[in-house]
């Protein structure tokens, strides 16, 4: 099997894995098995899979409240990921982070963030560390279209541009910020239009097309590795589901939901691959089987992992 084809299958697998993990998480949440609240990226998998396919474990990714996909695509281990979301001892953060603060230093998942726009300034620092040490590593900071109206967006892009930091600002523009449509929080249609004001490239791609996403990300990452500075990469998608699991979306016209779901990045890519003969008739089914087995095992693992002991409440406050 050629490298290119392996790569294609890996990306398809990555997308399917994200989708099924989040579907399962939604079920488990509805069954009351998951504490807190969770935000899924179903329908937006091409962005995580496409962008992270350009990164290695030594590269850093910062993500948001809607960060499962990025963490998974970046290579986070599913068992401990699941245990963390369950709030159990075997989670990557000993059950202290949950869905909204998932992290695994080991694979460069610096961390998710519950503060919209909160990760942007921090990504300056992780990228600066690469530059400071003369490493060729890069940082990708994921954020939403809503986040692009926070002051931190501005301060961060200005500084990243000024210092030519090895950083890719990846905006997942899904048209919504919680319960409010984009037209009510910004006048411009594309976040990428803001790049010019910092003197950096701004690129907008169809976030449902994983091939386009990967192409654009490859270029932005290469640019960052070369030392030529940051790129604002905007991936346009449409939010399939509610803001969080359990959101009835009363505020949202049903057609908007239907329209969003009409675009399925996974089906599109699978069709494309089979048309090109890269996967056979059962290609997708095989992936689904592998993914299901992995998820079943991870859910079992998480369910069997004990909650953190009482002493854990008081540890890790200070080094």
């Amino acid at each position: 099997m050629t490298d290119a084809r392996e790569q294609q299958l890996a990306i398809l697998h990555s997308m399917v894995r994200i989708r099924r993990v989040e579907e399962r998480l939604s079920e488990l949440f509805s069954q009351g098995k998951v504490p807190g609240f969770i935000h899924v990226s179903i329908g937006q998998e091409a962005i995580a899979a496409g962008v992270c396919s350009c990164l290695g474990p030594e590269d850093s990714v910062l993500t948001t409240h809607r960060g499962h996909g990025h963490a998974l695509a970046k290579g986070i281990g599913l068992k401990r990921f699941m245990a963390e979301i369950y709030g159990r001892r075997d989670g990557f953060c000993k059950g202290k982070s949950g869905s909204m603060h998932i992290a695994d230093k080991g694979v460069g998942v610096v961390g998710a963030n519950g503060i919209v726009g909160g990760g942007l300034p921090i990504s300056l620092g992780t990228a600066l560390a690469s530059q400071y040490r003369g490493e060729k590593t890069v940082t990708v900071c994921f954020f939403g279209d809503g986040a692009s109206n926070q002051g931190t967006f501005h301060e961060s892009l200005n500084i990243a541009a000024l210092w030519s930091l090895p950083l890719v600002f990846c905006c997942e523009n899904n048209g919504w910020a919680q319960f409010t449509p984009q037209a009510r929080y910004m006048k411009v249609e594309s976040v990428a239009e803001r790049a010019e004001g910092y003197g950096i490239p701004g690129v907008t791609v169809d976030g449902n097309d994983v091939v386009r996403v990967r192409e654009a990300a490859l270029e932005a990452v290469a640019r960052a590795r070369r030392g030529d500075g940051p790129t604002l990469l905007e991936c346009k998608v449409r939010r399939w589901l509610g803001h969080y699991v359990g959101d009835a979306q009363k505020y949202r016209p049903p057609e908007d939901v239907k329209g969003a779901k009409a675009l399925d990045p996974i089906r599109a890519y699978a069709d494309q691959l089979s048309a090109a003969g890269a996967i056979g008739p059962d290609g997708l089914a095989d992936i689904e089987l592998r993914v299901k087995a992995e998820i079943d095992e991870a859910v079992r693992f998480a369910g069997e992992s004990p909650p953190a002991g009482p002493e854990e409440l008081f540890t890790d406050v200070y080094a």
């Binding site: 807190g36 059950g95 982070s97 910020a177 910004m186 953190a308």
Partner: protein, 322 residues
């Protein structure tokens, strides 16, 4: 009649907007969706987009909008979706809003209300569960209010909206679903007045927000053991109603302070210090504070973290034992 805490807030907003055309609400998702916790439900339909203003996710600007509008004579009510996010508005609140009147020699009135839900209970983790009153209690120019009941949240919010000073109005998420009696007609609850929620002779428990209910629960149990607890609902943090605190302590000569926020350097320290300084020799036992441990709000271990009735019982017994 029985009304939920969140509904009482909604009623207060609707009544004041109907009463005074210069009152408007501004914040994230307050419009079409009626707010993240539906405090502003139906206000858009009733008062229109001019007076019910959705904003981008820009907490600093939300407060700035309120400050500027108040300078021009409007009476904004800003919503910050979670009190934790007030950190993003910190400069606009403490360096601008709170100082405008003094800095400009009394040139402006500042009728601004900033509403924000604090506290835990949703396993929402360290960035969505904090009680932040200690950041603001020592900031001259601000008033800080923390209502505990549907009755008080309505009456205090109406008072806050009519107040010509900036009021930081800290609600508690865990109380939003709480039902309580809310009178039919118009009424106000004055800012700066604590209330005795339960009269007792043995020990004074000064409590805020959610801890008022935990303290009432504790008091019931303790009554069974013959300990008669007086519970003072502080309701307002600044201006601090020392008079009511002192009156109660003069009576019971024992003091417990209970808040959900981290105990260390919390507002309870000021209450204990004020009593020890200004009522010399009055306390028959050392005072005792109930508050959260000195750790961020955890995700999974929230229940273990949150101060509760059991903690109040322990505190009361310790001061009774002494």
């Amino acid at each position: 009649m029985e009304t939920r805490y969140i509904k009482a807030i909604n009623e207060a907003l609707a009544e004041e907007m109907a009463r005074d055309e210069s009152v408007f609400v501004v914040g994230e998702d307050v419009g079409g969706a009626g707010g993240a916790f539906s405090a502003t439900r139906d206000l858009l339909a009733r008062f229109g987009a001019r007076r019910v203003r959705d904003t981008p996710i820009s907490e600093a600007a939300i407060v700035g909008i309120a400050t500027g509008a108040a300078i021009r004579g409007l009476r904004p009510v800003a919503e910050i979706m979670f009190a934790d996010f007030l950190a993003l508005s910190m400069d606009q609140i403490v360096n601008q809003l709170a100082k405008v009147r003094y800095m400009f020699g009394g040139m402006y009135a500042m009728p601004v209300v900033i509403r924000a839900p604090c506290g835990g209970g949703l396993n929402a983790g360290p960035q969505h569960s904090q009680c932040v009153e200690a950041w603001f209690a020592g900031v001259p120019g601000l008033k800080v209010v923390m209502p505990a009941t549907p009755h008080d949240v309505k009456g205090l919010l109406k008072s806050a909206i009519r107040d010509d000073n900036p009021v930081l109005f800290l609600e508690n998420k865990a109380l939003y679903a709480l039902k309580g009696d809310v009178p039919e007609g118009e009424y106000l609850v004055p800012i700066g007045k604590a209330e005795v929620k339960r009269a007792g002779k043995d020990v004074t428990v000064v409590a805020t927000s959610r801890m008022v209910h935990q303290s009432l629960e504790a008091a019931q149990g303790l009554a069974g053991e013959g300990i008669d607890v007086e519970i003072l609902d502080l309701r307002t943090i600044t201006p601090l109603d020392k008079e009511s605190i002192f009156r109660s302590v003069e009576k019971t000569s024992r003091l417990v302070v209970a808040h959900e926020a981290v105990k260390a350097f919390g507002i309870g320290a000021e209450i204990v210090a004020a009593v020890c300084e200004e009522l010399p020799g009055r306390l028959r036992a050392p005072p005792c504070r109930v508050g959260a441990p000195f750790v961020p709000v955890p995700f999974a271990q929230e229940r273990q973290y949150l101060p509760d009735a059991a903690g109040v019982v322990r505190a009361v017994k310790s001061v009774m034992a002494a």
